[in-house]
């Protein structure tokens, strides 16, 4: 009986030309129609190592383990020198750049907040001075009017 349950051997057993039993560790993750997916993992890690790695992981986590192995194998095929370490390197650079941009943006925000606060204070001080001047002017005008009326009343 084929482990993939479809009557045909799984992608792994097909490639390795062996009988696919119900105990086949690959069958649930590499069905016959996904021959390329298994071939890639086999080329990078080797079927024997993949089998050992899968058996070391509890069954509920095996789909994730297979996905990550396929991802790594795919990256290694695309980039034989750096594999998926290229993605790590790129992402680390992106994180550094973003952290720098964020620090600059935060510094700009802080500077603007300070500028705004300073302007509020200046405006308050200006308003207070204006009030003092206005009061003094009004007082002066009042005195002048009083003097005028006094003079006027003296002659009328």
């Amino acid at each position: 009986m084929a482990g993939s349950g479809s009557g045909t051997p799984c992608a792994s057993c097909k490639l390795l030309r062996r009988r696919c039993t119900s105990e086949c560790v690959f069958a649930p993750y590499f069905p016959a129609e996904e021959a390329q997916r298994f071939a890639m993992v086999h080329r990078v890690f080797g079927a024997s190592n993949v089998s050992k790695m899968l058996l070391d992981v509890p069954p509920p986590q095996r789909p994730d383990a297979v996905s990550s192995l396929v991802y790594e194998a795919n990256a290694r095929m695309r980039d034989p020198v750096y594999g998926c370490v290229a993605a790590i390197s790129f992402l680390q650079q992106q994180v550094s750049q973003l952290q720098m941009q964020l620090a600059l943006a935060n510094a700009e925000t802080a500077a603007l907040q300070l500028q705004l606060q300073q302007q509020h204070q200046d405006q308050d001080e200006h308003h207070q001075q204006q009030c003092i001047l206005e009061n003094a002017a009004a007082h002066h005008q009042l005195m002048l009017q009083e003097a005028f009326l006094k003079k006027e009343s003296m002659w009328t």
Copy 2:
């Protein structure tokens, strides 16, 4: 002759119990004293696959290829389910968070700049109105003084 040139077989040939020749592809990268480093790569990728992968890469790039394979193997040993894909996943999340924080910081900066600009305009308008009022008050006071002097001169 040992490929590592030190008279002792390289870490790979020692582990695989074979004669280390001058053509040994592993010898330059896995000296005898780094047995653990080779054992890890062998366990994850298999010596045969590592050998094939190294031979597929031009010699000047082989040290980088070895480093990335060691990094991946190390990550897989620490995390049998996700391997170094865990680092990619973590970094991708970090990039997303930083991009969100940066967008927020930029929006805050833009809002503060607008607020500051608005305050400048308000201040200018207030200053203009103040000038008009001050001129009017000064004019009124002048008229009053003139009237006072006129009255005074009429009686003196």
